[in-house]
Point group: C2
Chain length 97, copies 2
DNA sequence: AAAATATTTAGTTATATTACAAAATAACAG
DNA sequence: CTGTTATTTTGTAATATAACTAAATATTTT
């Protein structure tokens, strides 16, 4: 007999929700090699406003996927756990065109 | 230099988006042992309407995560790839309370 | 201290998601 | 064929998300 607990998957689902946007998934992939990148790099590459990028980064941070490091005027982001790449690739391949 | 291609992550992100809802993540977990379950079992356990459950299942199916098998009046769902469980657990643990 | 740069926060609007009710299908039972 | 059961589809309303602009904050440069 299946049993559903309303709260059981709520926090976990946040992680997947955070990855469920093209821009955010792309950001995580850029960081997957363990390197860090600055907000302005993302803004330039994606072509959206700073404010929008900042929100996306906040969502990823809140999901526990990335952490930030402020140095001078710039903020650098990196993955909390760079081992995430193979996992993301494995899931990403599930979708058939 | 980072380079963003608008379409590159769109399909992949669909998979994560599909998992980014408590009910849907729970469904996938119930199927993770490779067993199949019928729609009515999910409806009973979660306590939402048939129509709503059907929509959730359609999203998971469209993401390529589950497939259905109609037998008589009932429809049974199972994972396309039961190996998904460790992957989901690995990602789900990322989130700090 | 004032100006400039990098980023975040707040407020707003368009769009997407979620859940429901009601109607439509499909398979089976009488 | 008629009614019943299981599920999907369609239409709708409430809520959430995503992008933008403008304002706020923090750090460096002048």
């Amino acid at each position: 007999m299946l049993k559903f607990d309303k709260n059981c998957c709520r926090h976990e689902a946040e992680v997947f929700k955070a990855l469920g946007h093209p821009t955010r998934l792309w950001i995580v992939k850029q960081l997957a090699d363990g390197q860090e990148h600055c907000v302005c790099e993302f803004v330039e590459a994606v072509g959206i406003r700073f404010a929008t990028m900042s929100q996306h980064l906040a969502i990823l941070k809140n999901a526990g996927l990335i952490i930030d490091d402020k140095r001078g005027k710039q903020v650098f982001y990196r993955l909390t756990c760079p081992c995430i790449l193979p996992v993301i690739q494995c899931l990403g391949e599930k979708r058939q065109e």
